[in-house]
Symmetry: C2
Subunit: 236 residues, 2 copies
DNA sequence: ACGATTGTTGAATGATTGATCAACTCAAGT
DNA sequence: ACTTGAGTTGATCAATCATTCAACAATCGT
Protein backbone atom coordinates (compact mmCIF):
# COMPACT_ATOMS: atom_id res chain seq x y z
CA UNK A 1 0.00 0.00 0.00
CA UNK A 2 1.49 3.24 -1.15
CA UNK A 3 1.24 6.40 0.88
CA UNK A 4 -2.17 7.87 0.10
CA UNK A 5 -1.06 11.36 0.99
CA UNK A 6 1.58 11.28 -1.69
CA UNK A 7 -0.37 13.21 -4.30
CA UNK A 8 2.70 13.92 -6.33
CA UNK A 9 3.33 10.26 -6.93
CA UNK A 10 5.28 9.78 -10.13
CA UNK A 11 3.47 6.54 -10.81
CA UNK A 12 2.01 6.61 -14.28
CA UNK A 13 -0.14 3.62 -13.40
CA UNK A 14 -1.80 5.41 -10.52
CA UNK A 15 -2.53 8.39 -12.74
CA UNK A 16 -3.97 6.24 -15.48
CA UNK A 17 -6.21 4.42 -13.00
CA UNK A 18 -7.47 7.74 -11.66
CA UNK A 19 -8.01 9.14 -15.13
CA UNK A 20 -9.99 6.11 -16.27
CA UNK A 21 -11.96 5.85 -13.04
CA UNK A 22 -12.81 9.53 -13.30
CA UNK A 23 -14.23 9.06 -16.77
CA UNK A 24 -16.17 5.92 -15.89
CA UNK A 25 -17.59 7.31 -12.65
CA UNK A 26 -18.68 10.34 -14.62
CA UNK A 27 -20.29 8.31 -17.40
CA UNK A 28 -21.92 5.50 -15.45
CA UNK A 29 -21.82 6.66 -11.86
CA UNK A 30 -19.96 5.16 -8.94
CA UNK A 31 -22.23 2.25 -8.08
CA UNK A 32 -22.74 1.17 -11.66
CA UNK A 33 -19.00 1.09 -12.34
CA UNK A 34 -17.36 -2.15 -11.27
CA UNK A 35 -13.72 -2.33 -10.28
CA UNK A 36 -13.27 -4.89 -13.02
CA UNK A 37 -14.46 -2.33 -15.57
CA UNK A 38 -11.88 0.17 -14.38
CA UNK A 39 -9.18 -2.49 -14.52
CA UNK A 40 -10.09 -3.53 -18.04
CA UNK A 41 -10.30 0.03 -19.34
CA UNK A 42 -7.01 0.98 -17.72
CA UNK A 43 -5.25 -2.17 -18.86
CA UNK A 44 -4.19 -2.93 -15.31
CA UNK A 45 -4.50 -6.00 -13.11
CA UNK A 46 -6.37 -5.88 -9.84
CA UNK A 47 -3.25 -6.11 -7.69
CA UNK A 48 -1.95 -2.84 -9.08
CA UNK A 49 -5.12 -1.00 -8.24
CA UNK A 50 -5.18 -2.35 -4.72
CA UNK A 51 -1.54 -1.46 -4.38
CA UNK A 52 -2.38 2.20 -4.76
CA UNK A 53 -5.87 2.28 -3.29
CA UNK A 54 -7.19 0.62 -0.18
CA UNK A 55 -10.38 -0.23 -2.02
CA UNK A 56 -13.10 1.10 -4.26
CA UNK A 57 -14.04 3.87 -1.86
CA UNK A 58 -10.43 5.04 -1.64
CA UNK A 59 -10.42 5.13 -5.43
CA UNK A 60 -13.49 7.37 -5.36
CA UNK A 61 -11.81 9.68 -2.88
CA UNK A 62 -8.77 9.80 -5.13
CA UNK A 63 -10.95 10.74 -8.08
CA UNK A 64 -12.65 13.48 -6.08
CA UNK A 65 -9.33 14.88 -4.92
CA UNK A 66 -8.22 14.87 -8.53
CA UNK A 67 -11.29 16.80 -9.58
CA UNK A 68 -10.61 19.29 -6.84
CA UNK A 69 -6.98 19.75 -7.81
CA UNK A 70 -7.82 20.25 -11.48
CA UNK A 71 -10.80 22.52 -11.03
CA UNK A 72 -8.88 25.73 -11.72
CA UNK A 73 -6.86 24.36 -14.63
CA UNK A 74 -9.72 22.66 -16.39
CA UNK A 75 -12.61 25.00 -15.71
CA UNK A 76 -11.79 28.44 -14.41
CA UNK A 77 -8.53 29.26 -16.14
CA UNK A 78 -9.95 28.51 -19.62
CA UNK A 79 -12.90 30.76 -18.83
CA UNK A 80 -10.66 33.51 -17.52
CA UNK A 81 -8.57 33.34 -20.67
CA UNK A 82 -11.69 33.92 -22.75
CA UNK A 83 -12.62 37.26 -21.26
CA UNK A 84 -11.36 39.65 -18.63
CA UNK A 85 -14.80 41.03 -17.81
CA UNK A 86 -15.74 39.50 -14.47
CA UNK A 87 -19.48 39.38 -15.11
CA UNK A 88 -19.01 38.13 -18.65
CA UNK A 89 -16.98 35.30 -17.16
CA UNK A 90 -20.00 34.02 -15.29
CA UNK A 91 -21.88 33.57 -18.53
CA UNK A 92 -18.90 32.03 -20.30
CA UNK A 93 -18.72 29.55 -17.44
CA UNK A 94 -22.38 28.67 -17.83
CA UNK A 95 -21.83 28.36 -21.56
CA UNK A 96 -18.96 25.95 -20.94
CA UNK A 97 -21.24 23.53 -19.13
CA UNK A 98 -23.84 24.07 -21.84
CA UNK A 99 -21.40 23.00 -24.54
CA UNK A 100 -20.33 19.98 -22.50
CA UNK A 101 -23.95 18.93 -22.32
CA UNK A 102 -24.48 19.22 -26.05
CA UNK A 103 -21.17 17.67 -27.01
CA UNK A 104 -21.81 14.55 -24.93
CA UNK A 105 -25.39 14.21 -26.13
CA UNK A 106 -26.65 15.13 -22.65
CA UNK A 107 -25.03 12.06 -21.12
CA UNK A 108 -22.55 13.96 -18.98
CA UNK A 109 -23.11 16.94 -16.77
CA UNK A 110 -21.06 18.16 -13.86
CA UNK A 111 -18.80 15.24 -12.88
CA UNK A 112 -19.05 16.02 -9.20
CA UNK A 113 -22.74 16.92 -9.21
CA UNK A 114 -23.63 13.40 -10.25
CA UNK A 115 -21.54 11.84 -7.52
CA UNK A 116 -22.81 14.36 -4.97
CA UNK A 117 -26.34 13.02 -4.98
CA UNK A 118 -25.27 9.41 -5.41
CA UNK A 119 -22.70 8.89 -2.68
CA UNK A 120 -22.75 11.86 -0.30
CA UNK A 121 -24.91 9.85 2.10
CA UNK A 122 -23.86 6.26 1.49
CA UNK A 123 -20.15 7.08 1.62
CA UNK A 124 -19.70 9.65 4.38
CA UNK A 125 -16.01 10.13 3.63
CA UNK A 126 -16.90 11.38 0.14
CA UNK A 127 -19.04 14.24 1.37
CA UNK A 128 -16.14 16.35 2.51
CA UNK A 129 -14.27 16.53 -0.83
CA UNK A 130 -17.58 17.07 -2.63
CA UNK A 131 -18.46 19.92 -0.32
CA UNK A 132 -15.00 21.39 -0.77
CA UNK A 133 -15.41 21.10 -4.54
CA UNK A 134 -18.64 23.08 -4.46
CA UNK A 135 -17.10 25.56 -2.03
CA UNK A 136 -14.11 26.01 -4.30
CA UNK A 137 -16.37 26.38 -7.35
CA UNK A 138 -18.47 29.08 -5.75
CA UNK A 139 -15.36 30.78 -4.32
CA UNK A 140 -14.02 31.35 -7.83
CA UNK A 141 -17.34 32.76 -9.01
CA UNK A 142 -17.49 34.77 -5.81
CA UNK A 143 -14.14 36.36 -6.71
CA UNK A 144 -15.45 37.39 -10.08
CA UNK A 145 -18.50 38.94 -8.50
CA UNK A 146 -16.31 40.84 -6.06
CA UNK A 147 -14.17 42.02 -8.95
CA UNK A 148 -17.28 43.48 -10.55
CA UNK A 149 -17.16 46.15 -7.85
CA UNK A 150 -19.92 48.75 -8.08
CA UNK A 151 -21.33 47.18 -11.20
CA UNK A 152 -23.39 45.19 -8.73
CA UNK A 153 -25.47 46.67 -5.90
CA UNK A 154 -23.39 47.48 -2.85
CA UNK A 155 -25.35 45.45 -0.38
CA UNK A 156 -25.78 42.44 -2.62
CA UNK A 157 -24.24 39.38 -0.97
CA UNK A 158 -21.81 38.16 -3.63
CA UNK A 159 -21.44 34.78 -2.00
CA UNK A 160 -25.16 34.05 -2.12
CA UNK A 161 -25.23 35.04 -5.77
CA UNK A 162 -22.37 32.64 -6.44
CA UNK A 163 -24.40 29.87 -4.78
CA UNK A 164 -27.28 30.73 -7.11
CA UNK A 165 -25.01 30.42 -10.14
CA UNK A 166 -24.03 26.91 -9.06
CA UNK A 167 -27.62 25.98 -8.29
CA UNK A 168 -28.85 27.18 -11.67
CA UNK A 169 -26.06 25.29 -13.42
CA UNK A 170 -26.56 22.01 -11.56
CA UNK A 171 -30.34 22.23 -11.66
CA UNK A 172 -30.31 23.15 -15.32
CA UNK A 173 -27.93 20.32 -16.16
CA UNK A 174 -30.14 17.86 -14.30
CA UNK A 175 -33.21 18.86 -16.28
CA UNK A 176 -31.40 18.94 -19.60
CA UNK A 177 -30.02 15.45 -19.05
CA UNK A 178 -33.44 14.09 -18.16
CA UNK A 179 -35.00 15.88 -21.09
CA UNK A 180 -32.19 15.05 -23.50
CA UNK A 181 -32.50 18.57 -24.79
CA UNK A 182 -30.92 21.89 -23.97
CA UNK A 183 -34.19 23.81 -23.61
CA UNK A 184 -34.61 23.53 -19.81
CA UNK A 185 -31.01 24.63 -19.29
CA UNK A 186 -31.42 27.62 -21.55
CA UNK A 187 -34.68 28.56 -19.91
CA UNK A 188 -33.20 28.52 -16.41
CA UNK A 189 -30.00 30.29 -17.45
CA UNK A 190 -31.97 32.82 -19.47
CA UNK A 191 -33.96 33.78 -16.42
CA UNK A 192 -30.80 33.97 -14.39
CA UNK A 193 -29.32 36.33 -16.95
CA UNK A 194 -32.23 38.63 -16.53
CA UNK A 195 -31.64 38.57 -12.81
CA UNK A 196 -28.09 39.73 -13.46
CA UNK A 197 -29.28 42.53 -15.71
CA UNK A 198 -31.63 43.54 -12.96
CA UNK A 199 -28.71 43.72 -10.56
CA UNK A 200 -26.58 45.74 -12.93
CA UNK A 201 -29.47 48.08 -13.46
CA UNK A 202 -29.87 48.72 -9.80
CA UNK A 203 -26.14 49.25 -9.38
CA UNK A 204 -26.24 51.78 -12.20
CA UNK A 205 -28.99 53.59 -10.34
CA UNK A 206 -26.91 53.53 -7.17
CA UNK A 207 -24.04 55.08 -9.05
CA UNK A 208 -26.36 57.77 -10.27
CA UNK A 209 -26.04 56.85 -13.91
CA UNK A 210 -29.28 55.36 -15.12
CA UNK A 211 -32.61 57.03 -14.38
CA UNK A 212 -33.72 54.03 -12.32
CA UNK A 213 -35.36 52.75 -15.41
CA UNK A 214 -37.57 49.76 -15.23
CA UNK A 215 -37.15 49.92 -18.94
CA UNK A 216 -36.33 46.74 -20.69
CA UNK A 217 -33.85 48.36 -23.02
CA UNK A 218 -31.28 49.37 -20.48
CA UNK A 219 -31.50 46.07 -18.68
CA UNK A 220 -30.84 44.09 -21.77
CA UNK A 221 -28.32 46.46 -23.14
CA UNK A 222 -25.37 44.18 -23.72
CA UNK A 223 -25.56 40.44 -23.29
CA UNK A 224 -29.20 39.66 -23.69
CA UNK A 225 -30.26 40.34 -27.24
CA UNK A 226 -33.68 39.69 -28.55
CA UNK A 227 -34.52 36.17 -29.55
CA UNK A 228 -35.33 35.12 -33.09
CA UNK A 229 -39.04 35.27 -32.32
CA UNK A 230 -38.81 38.92 -31.49
CA UNK A 231 -39.31 38.29 -27.82
CA UNK A 232 -37.42 40.61 -25.57
CA UNK A 233 -36.47 37.59 -23.48
CA UNK A 234 -33.49 35.72 -24.59
CA UNK A 235 -33.62 32.07 -23.77
CA UNK A 236 -29.93 31.78 -24.30
CA UNK B 1 -46.78 -11.87 -14.51
CA UNK B 2 -49.52 -9.46 -13.72
CA UNK B 3 -50.64 -6.80 -16.14
CA UNK B 4 -48.19 -3.91 -15.72
CA UNK B 5 -50.66 -1.39 -17.04
CA UNK B 6 -53.09 -2.21 -14.25
CA UNK B 7 -52.25 0.79 -12.08
CA UNK B 8 -55.36 0.34 -10.00
CA UNK B 9 -54.24 -3.08 -8.82
CA UNK B 10 -55.83 -3.84 -5.50
CA UNK B 11 -52.82 -5.86 -4.47
CA UNK B 12 -51.60 -4.68 -1.09
CA UNK B 13 -48.36 -6.54 -1.66
CA UNK B 14 -47.59 -4.66 -4.84
CA UNK B 15 -48.26 -1.37 -3.10
CA UNK B 16 -46.07 -2.27 -0.13
CA UNK B 17 -43.23 -3.28 -2.42
CA UNK B 18 -43.47 0.01 -4.28
CA UNK B 19 -43.70 2.00 -1.07
CA UNK B 20 -40.63 0.33 0.42
CA UNK B 21 -38.67 0.47 -2.82
CA UNK B 22 -39.51 4.15 -3.15
CA UNK B 23 -38.11 4.85 0.30
CA UNK B 24 -34.97 2.77 -0.20
CA UNK B 25 -34.23 4.14 -3.68
CA UNK B 26 -34.61 7.60 -2.22
CA UNK B 27 -32.35 6.93 0.76
CA UNK B 28 -29.61 4.85 -0.84
CA UNK B 29 -30.12 5.29 -4.54
CA UNK B 30 -31.07 2.70 -7.13
CA UNK B 31 -27.76 0.94 -7.66
CA UNK B 32 -26.90 0.73 -4.00
CA UNK B 33 -30.24 -0.83 -3.14
CA UNK B 34 -30.27 -4.58 -3.63
CA UNK B 35 -33.43 -6.45 -4.45
CA UNK B 36 -32.81 -8.54 -1.35
CA UNK B 37 -32.93 -5.39 0.76
CA UNK B 38 -36.28 -4.43 -0.67
CA UNK B 39 -37.59 -7.94 -0.05
CA UNK B 40 -36.42 -7.96 3.57
CA UNK B 41 -37.80 -4.49 4.33
CA UNK B 42 -41.14 -5.30 2.71
CA UNK B 43 -41.41 -8.72 4.33
CA UNK B 44 -41.97 -10.35 1.00
CA UNK B 45 -40.34 -13.28 -0.76
CA UNK B 46 -38.61 -12.86 -4.07
CA UNK B 47 -41.27 -14.71 -6.04
CA UNK B 48 -43.88 -12.14 -5.09
CA UNK B 49 -41.78 -9.27 -6.30
CA UNK B 50 -41.08 -10.98 -9.60
CA UNK B 51 -44.74 -11.80 -9.90
CA UNK B 52 -45.54 -8.10 -10.11
CA UNK B 53 -42.39 -6.78 -11.71
CA UNK B 54 -40.39 -8.15 -14.58
CA UNK B 55 -37.18 -7.24 -12.78
CA UNK B 56 -35.37 -4.55 -10.87
CA UNK B 57 -35.67 -2.04 -13.70
CA UNK B 58 -39.41 -2.59 -13.92
CA UNK B 59 -39.56 -1.97 -10.19
CA UNK B 60 -37.75 1.33 -10.72
CA UNK B 61 -40.21 2.30 -13.44
CA UNK B 62 -43.05 1.42 -11.08
CA UNK B 63 -41.58 3.65 -8.41
CA UNK B 64 -41.20 6.51 -10.87
CA UNK B 65 -44.77 6.13 -12.08
CA UNK B 66 -45.86 6.19 -8.46
CA UNK B 67 -43.98 9.40 -7.86
CA UNK B 68 -45.60 10.88 -10.90
CA UNK B 69 -49.10 9.84 -9.86
CA UNK B 70 -48.67 11.22 -6.34
CA UNK B 71 -46.98 14.46 -7.27
CA UNK B 72 -50.12 16.57 -7.00
CA UNK B 73 -51.43 14.93 -3.83
CA UNK B 74 -48.18 14.95 -1.94
CA UNK B 75 -46.59 18.17 -3.10
CA UNK B 76 -48.79 20.65 -4.88
CA UNK B 77 -52.13 20.23 -3.15
CA UNK B 78 -50.65 20.74 0.33
CA UNK B 79 -48.96 23.89 -0.91
CA UNK B 80 -52.12 25.14 -2.54
CA UNK B 81 -54.04 24.58 0.68
CA UNK B 82 -51.54 26.78 2.52
CA UNK B 83 -52.11 29.92 0.49
CA UNK B 84 -54.19 31.08 -2.43
CA UNK B 85 -51.67 33.68 -3.59
CA UNK B 86 -50.05 32.20 -6.68
CA UNK B 87 -46.67 33.83 -6.17
CA UNK B 88 -46.64 33.06 -2.46
CA UNK B 89 -47.21 29.43 -3.42
CA UNK B 90 -43.86 29.32 -5.19
CA UNK B 91 -42.09 30.24 -1.98
CA UNK B 92 -44.16 27.86 0.11
CA UNK B 93 -43.15 25.13 -2.33
CA UNK B 94 -39.48 25.99 -1.94
CA UNK B 95 -39.96 26.05 1.81
CA UNK B 96 -41.48 22.58 1.67
CA UNK B 97 -38.32 21.15 0.17
CA UNK B 98 -36.31 23.17 2.66
CA UNK B 99 -38.12 21.56 5.58
CA UNK B 100 -37.70 18.10 4.09
CA UNK B 101 -33.98 18.72 3.91
CA UNK B 102 -33.75 19.78 7.53
CA UNK B 103 -36.08 17.10 8.84
CA UNK B 104 -34.09 14.30 7.25
CA UNK B 105 -30.76 15.74 8.35
CA UNK B 106 -29.91 16.57 4.74
CA UNK B 107 -29.96 12.90 3.76
CA UNK B 108 -32.94 13.17 1.45
CA UNK B 109 -33.68 15.75 -1.20
CA UNK B 110 -35.94 15.50 -4.21
CA UNK B 111 -36.66 11.77 -4.65
CA UNK B 112 -36.65 12.01 -8.43
CA UNK B 113 -33.72 14.41 -8.68
CA UNK B 114 -31.42 11.83 -7.18
CA UNK B 115 -32.53 9.13 -9.56
CA UNK B 116 -32.42 11.53 -12.50
CA UNK B 117 -28.67 11.88 -12.43
CA UNK B 118 -28.05 8.28 -11.43
CA UNK B 119 -30.06 6.30 -13.96
CA UNK B 120 -31.23 8.60 -16.74
CA UNK B 121 -28.34 7.41 -18.91
CA UNK B 122 -27.73 3.85 -17.74
CA UNK B 123 -31.43 2.95 -17.83
CA UNK B 124 -32.89 4.60 -20.92
CA UNK B 125 -36.43 3.55 -20.10
CA UNK B 126 -36.29 5.56 -16.88
CA UNK B 127 -35.58 8.85 -18.60
CA UNK B 128 -39.07 9.26 -19.92
CA UNK B 129 -40.93 9.13 -16.57
CA UNK B 130 -38.24 11.31 -15.01
CA UNK B 131 -38.61 13.87 -17.76
CA UNK B 132 -42.38 13.73 -17.40
CA UNK B 133 -42.01 14.23 -13.65
CA UNK B 134 -39.97 17.38 -14.17
CA UNK B 135 -42.35 18.53 -16.87
CA UNK B 136 -45.32 17.97 -14.57
CA UNK B 137 -43.54 19.77 -11.71
CA UNK B 138 -42.78 22.81 -13.79
CA UNK B 139 -46.25 22.75 -15.33
CA UNK B 140 -47.84 23.20 -11.91
CA UNK B 141 -45.51 26.08 -11.10
CA UNK B 142 -46.14 27.43 -14.57
CA UNK B 143 -49.87 27.52 -13.79
CA UNK B 144 -49.27 29.53 -10.66
CA UNK B 145 -47.15 31.99 -12.58
CA UNK B 146 -49.84 32.33 -15.22
CA UNK B 147 -52.38 32.90 -12.47
CA UNK B 148 -50.26 35.80 -11.23
CA UNK B 149 -51.45 37.68 -14.30
CA UNK B 150 -50.12 41.21 -14.59
CA UNK B 151 -48.27 40.95 -11.31
CA UNK B 152 -45.46 39.69 -13.51
CA UNK B 153 -44.13 41.47 -16.62
CA UNK B 154 -46.25 40.82 -19.67
CA UNK B 155 -43.51 39.50 -21.87
CA UNK B 156 -41.90 37.34 -19.20
CA UNK B 157 -41.89 33.71 -20.30
CA UNK B 158 -43.64 31.99 -17.40
CA UNK B 159 -42.45 28.59 -18.46
CA UNK B 160 -38.78 29.58 -18.38
CA UNK B 161 -39.29 31.04 -14.93
CA UNK B 162 -40.83 27.76 -13.79
CA UNK B 163 -37.76 25.96 -15.08
CA UNK B 164 -35.62 28.32 -13.03
CA UNK B 165 -37.63 27.51 -9.90
CA UNK B 166 -36.95 23.81 -10.38
CA UNK B 167 -33.28 24.43 -11.14
CA UNK B 168 -32.82 26.55 -8.03
CA UNK B 169 -34.55 23.94 -5.91
CA UNK B 170 -32.61 20.97 -7.27
CA UNK B 171 -29.31 22.81 -7.34
CA UNK B 172 -29.87 24.17 -3.85
CA UNK B 173 -30.81 20.75 -2.51
CA UNK B 174 -27.68 19.26 -4.05
CA UNK B 175 -25.43 21.78 -2.36
CA UNK B 176 -27.20 21.56 0.98
CA UNK B 177 -26.92 17.78 1.02
CA UNK B 178 -23.21 17.93 0.24
CA UNK B 179 -22.68 20.65 2.80
CA UNK B 180 -24.94 19.05 5.42
CA UNK B 181 -26.23 22.50 6.12
CA UNK B 182 -29.08 24.65 4.86
CA UNK B 183 -26.96 27.72 4.10
CA UNK B 184 -26.32 27.06 0.39
CA UNK B 185 -30.02 26.39 -0.18
CA UNK B 186 -31.04 29.58 1.58
CA UNK B 187 -28.47 31.58 -0.30
CA UNK B 188 -29.65 30.37 -3.70
CA UNK B 189 -33.34 30.72 -2.85
CA UNK B 190 -32.73 34.13 -1.30
CA UNK B 191 -31.25 35.37 -4.53
CA UNK B 192 -34.12 33.85 -6.46
CA UNK B 193 -36.56 35.71 -4.23
CA UNK B 194 -34.91 38.94 -5.14
CA UNK B 195 -35.32 38.04 -8.77
CA UNK B 196 -39.03 37.64 -8.17
CA UNK B 197 -39.26 40.99 -6.42
CA UNK B 198 -37.49 42.48 -9.39
CA UNK B 199 -40.12 40.99 -11.67
CA UNK B 200 -43.01 42.21 -9.58
CA UNK B 201 -41.44 45.66 -9.54
CA UNK B 202 -41.23 45.80 -13.26
CA UNK B 203 -44.80 44.57 -13.62
CA UNK B 204 -45.90 47.30 -11.23
CA UNK B 205 -44.18 49.81 -13.46
CA UNK B 206 -45.89 48.34 -16.50
CA UNK B 207 -49.23 48.75 -14.78
CA UNK B 208 -48.33 52.36 -14.11
CA UNK B 209 -48.37 52.00 -10.35
CA UNK B 210 -44.85 52.32 -9.01
CA UNK B 211 -42.58 55.08 -10.23
CA UNK B 212 -40.21 52.54 -11.70
CA UNK B 213 -38.31 52.64 -8.48
CA UNK B 214 -34.96 50.94 -8.29
CA UNK B 215 -35.48 51.50 -4.62
CA UNK B 216 -34.88 48.61 -2.35
CA UNK B 217 -37.95 49.31 -0.25
CA UNK B 218 -40.58 48.59 -2.83
CA UNK B 219 -38.82 45.53 -4.14
CA UNK B 220 -38.57 43.95 -0.75
CA UNK B 221 -41.95 45.10 0.33
CA UNK B 222 -43.63 41.91 1.34
CA UNK B 223 -41.85 38.62 1.47
CA UNK B 224 -38.24 39.60 1.90
CA UNK B 225 -37.81 41.21 5.26
CA UNK B 226 -34.52 42.27 6.65
CA UNK B 227 -32.31 39.65 8.19
CA UNK B 228 -31.26 39.63 11.84
CA UNK B 229 -27.95 41.24 10.93
CA UNK B 230 -29.71 44.27 9.57
CA UNK B 231 -28.85 43.36 6.02
CA UNK B 232 -31.42 44.26 3.48
CA UNK B 233 -30.95 40.85 1.89
CA UNK B 234 -32.86 38.06 3.36
CA UNK B 235 -31.08 34.75 3.10
CA UNK B 236 -34.31 32.96 3.74
C1' DA C 1 -68.27 -27.65 -6.42
C1' DC C 2 -64.99 -26.86 -9.81
C1' DG C 3 -61.28 -25.39 -12.80
C1' DA C 4 -58.89 -21.23 -13.61
C1' DT C 5 -56.63 -17.39 -12.38
C1' DT C 6 -53.91 -14.91 -9.28
C1' DG C 7 -50.82 -14.63 -5.51
C1' DT C 8 -47.05 -16.62 -2.65
C1' DT C 9 -43.27 -19.50 -1.19
C1' DG C 10 -38.20 -20.26 -0.67
C1' DA C 11 -34.49 -22.90 -2.18
C1' DA C 12 -31.39 -22.67 -5.92
C1' DT C 13 -29.12 -20.55 -10.07
C1' DG C 14 -25.15 -18.53 -12.41
C1' DA C 15 -23.03 -14.35 -12.93
C1' DT C 16 -20.63 -10.66 -10.96
C1' DT C 17 -19.12 -8.16 -7.15
C1' DG C 18 -15.02 -6.21 -4.40
C1' DA C 19 -11.09 -7.95 -2.45
C1' DT C 20 -6.89 -11.01 -1.23
C1' DC C 21 -2.30 -12.79 -1.56
C1' DA C 22 1.68 -15.50 -2.69
C1' DA C 23 4.72 -15.20 -6.37
C1' DC C 24 7.21 -12.57 -9.60
C1' DT C 25 9.80 -8.44 -12.03
C1' DC C 26 12.98 -4.99 -11.94
C1' DA C 27 15.24 -0.67 -11.09
C1' DA C 28 17.83 1.64 -7.38
C1' DG C 29 21.00 1.51 -3.56
C1' DT C 30 25.06 -0.20 -1.41
C1' DA D 1 26.89 -9.13 -6.62
C1' DC D 2 23.46 -8.74 -3.38
C1' DT D 3 19.59 -6.59 -0.95
C1' DT D 4 15.65 -3.98 -0.78
C1' DG D 5 11.13 -2.70 -1.74
C1' DA D 6 7.93 -0.60 -4.84
C1' DG D 7 5.27 -2.26 -8.57
C1' DT D 8 2.79 -5.95 -10.94
C1' DT D 9 0.63 -10.37 -11.89
C1' DG D 10 -3.37 -13.47 -12.05
C1' DA D 11 -5.54 -17.16 -9.86
C1' DT D 12 -8.72 -17.30 -6.26
C1' DC D 13 -11.98 -16.06 -2.57
C1' DA D 14 -16.43 -15.42 -0.16
C1' DA D 15 -20.22 -12.57 -0.64
C1' DT D 16 -23.69 -10.59 -2.94
C1' DC D 17 -26.09 -9.74 -7.03
C1' DA D 18 -30.60 -10.24 -9.80
C1' DT D 19 -33.29 -13.83 -11.19
C1' DT D 20 -35.76 -18.40 -11.83
C1' DC D 21 -39.04 -21.96 -10.97
C1' DA D 22 -41.64 -25.79 -9.38
C1' DA D 23 -44.76 -26.24 -5.94
C1' DC D 24 -48.37 -24.56 -3.09
C1' DA D 25 -52.30 -21.41 -1.33
C1' DA D 26 -55.99 -18.30 -1.94
C1' DT D 27 -59.53 -16.33 -4.47
C1' DC D 28 -62.20 -15.98 -8.33
C1' DG D 29 -66.10 -16.77 -11.84
C1' DT D 30 -69.32 -20.03 -13.28
Amino acid sequence: MVDQSNRGSTSATRDRILEIAERLFHERGYGATGVATVLRAAGVRSGSLYHFFRGKEALLLGVLERHLSQLRIRVFEPVERTTADPLERVFVLLDLYRRNLEMTGFTRGCPVGNLALEVSDTIPAARDPIDRYFASWTREVHRWLEAAGDRLPGDLPREALARLVLAVMEGGVMQARAHHGIEPYDAAVGQFKYHMSCMEDRARFERGEGQASGSRESRQRDRSGRGPNGSAWRTW
